[in-house]
């Protein structure tokens, strides 16, 4: 499932790369789609050339590839999500374990980017997704449904960035003019979670 997750994320990001770049053009520098597309192509290559033997290896390998090939702000940030997940994910993988690892991944991004929810960044999609996973674990729902709830939460979180004024990253330069546009990183985070729901077992 982990390999499939990144393959599906790569597919979605490739499909939506122009939308992501357009979002970044509005409040950034018009490269987010290209950046992430390049990075996920590299993830695909890494996972194909060096077939990973465990979920942990998938996450670490993917995170590393993103750091090594994306550049910009989103490279280190996304890379950290997955590398941190890989660091703490316990095997055998359970929904609870996945949720806990994901939570730590999100914390790593918040720490690295010094970003909190409401700053109009990818955190605004990742944090709600993480919360949705935690709730799903608490309520004992199935994996597929849990992932679907996380995807929904991420999508809503991304949409909720529209009225926000950016306080981190390039969009913050715009001050009030950043209001009214969806954050590209939040939009791509929503794609990652949508991919997760699609490949749910």
């Amino acid at each position: 499932m982990f390999v499939a997750w990144f393959e599906e994320a790569a597919r979605l990001v490739h499909r939506d790369r122009e939308r992501l770049t357009r979002l970044d053009a509005a409040i950034g520098d018009a490269d987010h789609g290209t950046n992430l597309d390049r990075g996920l192509t590299e993830v695909h290559k890494a996972l194909t050339e060096w077939p990973p033997e465990s979920p942990v290896q998938v996450l670490t390998s993917a995170g590393t590839a993103l750091i090594r090939r994306v550049g910009g702000a989103s490279g280190p940030l996304y890379g950290s999500v997955f590398r941190q997940m890989g660091k703490v994910l316990e095997s055998p993988v359970t929904l609870a374990g996945f949720s806990a690892a994901f939570e730590e991944g999100v914390v790593a991004v918040e720490r690295l980017g010094k970003a909190a929810p409401g700053d109009k960044t990818m955190v605004d999609a990742l944090a709600p997704a993480s919360r949705a996973l935690a709730l799903a674990v608490r309520d004992g729902v199935g994996v597929r449904e849990a992932f679907e709830q996380a995807a929904r939460a991420a999508a809503e979180g991304a949409e909720a960035t529209i009225p926000m004024q950016a306080r981190k990253g390039r969009a913050s330069y715009l001050g009030e003019r950043s209001i009214g546009h969806e954050d590209p990183g939040a939009a791509s985070a929503a794609l990652f979670m949508a991919a997760l729901a699609t490949v749910a077992p």
Binding site: A25, R38, I67, G71, S172, Y173
Partner: protein, 324 residues
Amino acid sequence: MKKLLNTADSMVEDALKGMAAAHPTLRIRDRVVYRADGPRQGKVGLVSGGGSGHEPLHAGFVGYGMLDAACPGEIFTSPVPDQIIEATRAVDGGAGVLHIVKNYTGDVLNFEMAAELAEDVEVASALVDDDVAVQDSLYTAGRRGTGATLFVEKIAGALAEEGVPLADVADVARAVDERSRSFGIALTSCTTPHAGKPTFALPETDVELGIGIHGEPGRARVPMAPARELAATAMDAVHGDLPLQGDLLVMVNGMGGTPLMELYVVFAEVAAYVKGKGARVSRSLVGNYVTSLDMQGFSVTVCRLDDTLTRLWDAPVDTPGLRW
């Protein structure tokens, strides 16, 4: 959009090939641009880098008296840690390495990661954040690094050639940044090769004030005005933040698509403005140095010189983009 390129994907690589072919003083390997005669034992190494599309910054400033290596990222995308680590190790002559980093989230994160990972080399870092168009507050990522990057690279590079320790080179780099301010105005948006259309739409009648060097839109849009007024707008912003006084180093910089003739027109106004404030243009630079692809417009960067900075600015430099 028409651009001289083969494919958008290969553009950075193709341009680096051209640089290598044009400048025998450079050596280019694995997306890092080095001085062909480096590393120099005992000299602090200077590494900078950032997204491509700002040429001649940074790779054009590799050479005697300036950078030892530059790490060009994809267009408008900071380099990745691998490049920076590679460059840092390669230019270390035993005296440590200074990273000159423009203050953007991506640049900062990637340089930080690289500095951590290149743990075998002593690394100091100097942040450039001179753009007064951005308020430095809790509510932003802080000021952007723009034109002053050139000043920092030139002056720190000159000091490094004198064989002083890393801490001193880092100090002078930070001093230059602290004494420098910039403001930019765009007549047109740039177009990134991947997006294929202008990053922001700007009607024939308007200019964008306080733009970044990545096609980030500015903070306000106002009607197009004569050069005198645009220059005053930029200089008011600079002067309001760091009063102009004493001897100044002043750069009027084109955004990539700005003809030199127009930059001279602006420079005349800037010089008159400086004089009006009782300060003095002691050193100057007019040209396309810190650019934003094909954007039309200009930025002005001012640094308050002292004797040391003047001496270091005047020191010989031999790079493709700056030479005297």
